[in-house]
Each structure stands twice: as C-alpha cells, then as structure tokens.
C-alpha cells in the first residue's frame, strides 16, 4: 500500500505474488492481571494482520518493563502474550525489552495474504451491509477501572471480548466476496468507520440502536468517565459525522470510545449476508448488523432507527 492511504498494516508484495503483512503495536496495562494483560496486548497486535485479511505466523515481543517489577510478573506478561499468539498459530521468537517506569507490551507481527483475500479500509461498496463483531465499551470500562471508578465485576464484562482473537470474524468475512474491513481500536467505532467511508468515497448510514454496547459501560458514560482518547476521537472525526438529534450525548461518545482489541467492522455484500451469518454461526462468532453503505457525500450519518 502506498503511504497516502492509511490502513491497518503495511503490505509488501513478494516475488511470488504473495503479500507480506507487517504491523506492530504495544500499550500500557489495561487490566491488573499480568497474564491477561499480555494476552490482550498480543491479541490486539495480531488483530491488525487479521484486519487486512491476512494469516499471521511470526511475531517479536516489544516490551518495556520497570526495573523494580518482580521478574515473575514480567514472565507472566510474556507467557500471556506467547500463549495467545500460539492460539493464533503465531510463533513468538525474540524481540526487545527496555526499561521504563510504566510497563508496556505488545508484538511486531508478520503474516501473509493472497491478493484476492486482502481486506482494505477503502474496499466498501454502496449497497453493502455493515457488520461489527464485538460490542463497544472496553475503553471507558478499562479507564474507569484504572481510576477506581469501576468494580472488578464491571471490568470482567469487557475482558473476554478484549481477549478474543479476530481470526474467526475474518474467516466469516472471507466466506463472502467482501473487500472492505478494519478493526475497531483507538479511534473508536465511528473513527474507524469514518476512515473506511472516506477511503472508499462512500457514505455509511449507522443505526445507533443496533450498535452493540456493553451494558456496564452505560452508567460509566452517564458519569462521563471517558478516556482522553475518546474525546479526541470525537473532536477530530466529528467533522464527518452527523447524528440524529434524538441520540443522547453519552451514546454518541460511546460510539467514539477508544477500544482495546475491538471487533472487525466489515462491509458485506447484501446478497451474501446469509452466507456471512452461517459462517459466523459455524464458528460461534457473534456479529451485529449496524448499518449500510450508500452512495453520496463521503462520511457517516448516525440515525436513531429506521
């Protein structure tokens, strides 16, 4: 891909025509448990390869470990990352660790994809349906927990989703002829949706009542405990998004909430929605139909309902 059009990972065409997909990501802890943190960070790093339609196979650790962290805690972070990578069929071989005050962990990941299976942010076409494969809320839940405003039980609602690989979601997308997809992470659902709509020069109509949101996130939104990144998303991407006036402010912000290893957002040809749903069912992969792709001024319109 050229540098002009942002996408989820770097793609390099090898001599045999196969495309190499390369990406790297790391972040500070989102949960207390070291093993779970490592696993979430690894799943998040690997997700960018899936978002390009690729199959990951090799990764390197990227870590910053405080010098006073007990070695067994650091080992748990790496073990979490390595076991999540193994679940994805990825070998973690080496990497680099540096000293820093706050821990950071993630992976540099390499995968491959054949050109016909490449999924691009700009691949959505008018008439397609938009699907999302995880509920929103991980950003506000993890930051509220970190600042003592949410209980471990609330956090526990988000953890299984953050741990979940996006592998099966992309397998289901690949059961169709869809070409447009991305993963929902730091820019939030509407930020990443905007990127897709602008790249494809299409208009997305989003049904606010159909976008899945973890119920435990709603009371936190009422208290406006959003992370700084969520507010930044709204301030930047808001210029391309219009809302039905009946949609409450806190719901709008939840749609911008920065996600950790969020789901796949994909545009599926309407005639292939049954095939997509069957593939999801066979893989035990949840999904929500959240809107449609239209012709028109590139951007997003969020409607309350039909």
């Amino acid at each position: 891909m050229g540098l002009g059009s942002p996408d989820d990972a770097t793609v390099y065409r090898m001599e045999n025509g196969t495309l190499l997909v390369a990406t790297a990501d790391f972040f500070a802890p989102v949960v207390d448990d070291a093993y779970t943190y490592g696993a979430i960070a690894a799943a998040n790093s690997i997700s960018d390869v899936y978002a390009m339609g690729g199959t990951p196979f090799l990764a390197l650790n990227l870590a910053a470990i405080p010098s006073d962290m007990p070695p067994e805690i650091a080992a748990e972070i790496f073990r979490g990352g390595m076991e999540k990578a193994r679940e994805a069929g990825v070998i973690v071989a080496g990497g680099h660790t540096m000293d820093d005050k706050e821990p950071k962990y993630g992976l540099a990941v390499i995968g491959t994809v054949v050109p016909e299976r490449l999924l691009l942010k700009g691949g959505a076409r008018p008439g397609e349906r938009l699907v999302l494969t995880k509920p929103l809320g991980s950003g506000i839940i993890t930051t509220a927990y970190k600042s003592g405003q949410a209980s471990p039980e609330v956090l526990a609602q988000a953890v299984p989703w953050m741990l979940r690989l996006n592998r099966d979601a992309v397998r289901a997308v690949h059961a169709t002829s869809a070409r447009g997809a991305t993963d929902v992470t730091g820019f939030g659902f509407l930020g990443h949706a905007t990127e897709m709509a602008l790249a494809a020069r299409v208009r997305f109509r989003i049904r606010a009542d159909r976008v899945p949101i973890l119920e435990v996130a709603r009371p936190l939104a009422d208290l406006w405990l959003f992370p700084g990144g969520t507010a930044a998303n709204e301030m930047y991407f808001g210029q391309w998004v219009t809302f039905d006036p009946s949609i409450p402010e806190e719901v709008r912000m939840l749609l911008f909430d920065a996600q950790t290893n969020g789901g796949i957002l994909a545009a599926i040809p309407a005639a292939e929605m049954d095939r997509f749903a069957e593939a999801c069912q066979a893989l035990d992969q949840p999904f929500w139909e959240v809107g449609e792709v239209l012709e028109g001024e590139p951007g997003i319109e969020v409607v309350a309902r039909d």
């Binding site: 405003q149 406006w224 959003f226 700084g228 969520t230 507010a231």
Partner: protein
C-alpha cells in the same frame, strides 16, 4: 470562597473525577483548571450533564472552567 480544582497535567477521566468530587461537596462556585482541550470538553460536559452552568476561560495555553449552580 471559590473552591479550586487543579487538574492540570492529569489525563482523562481524572479531571472529571476530581471535578465531580468537588461538585458532590456542594459548595459553589468551583474553578477547575485543565491544560488540554479534551479535559476542557470532558469537564464541561460532565458538569453540564449534572445540571450546572459552565463558563470557560482560556488562560494562556490552559483553561479555567467556572462551575455554578
């Protein structure tokens, strides 16, 4: 006496949490000092949602929000 919440240098949601703690004490006006646009917006909206009047003033690169009932 005006209560001052200095939330400069803190990232969200910390400024909102501190402002809310001051709001719960029930003594107004409250001045909240923040140093980013995102903190300014988050505190402004949290206070507006709580039914308060909010005045925003730029102080150099920083912001002062005055919350009144």
């Amino acid at each position: 006496m005006t209560k001052v919440v200095d939330a400069r240098g803190l990232s969200c949601p910390q400024p909102v949490i501190l402002a809310r703690q001051a709001m719960e004490e029930g003594e107004f006006p409250i001045e909240v000092l923040v140093d980013t646009v995102t903190s300014r917006e988050n505190v402004r909206r949290a206070a507006t949602k709580a039914g308060l009047q909010v005045q925003v003033e730029a102080v150099g690169d920083e912001f002062k929000l005055t919350l009144t009932q």
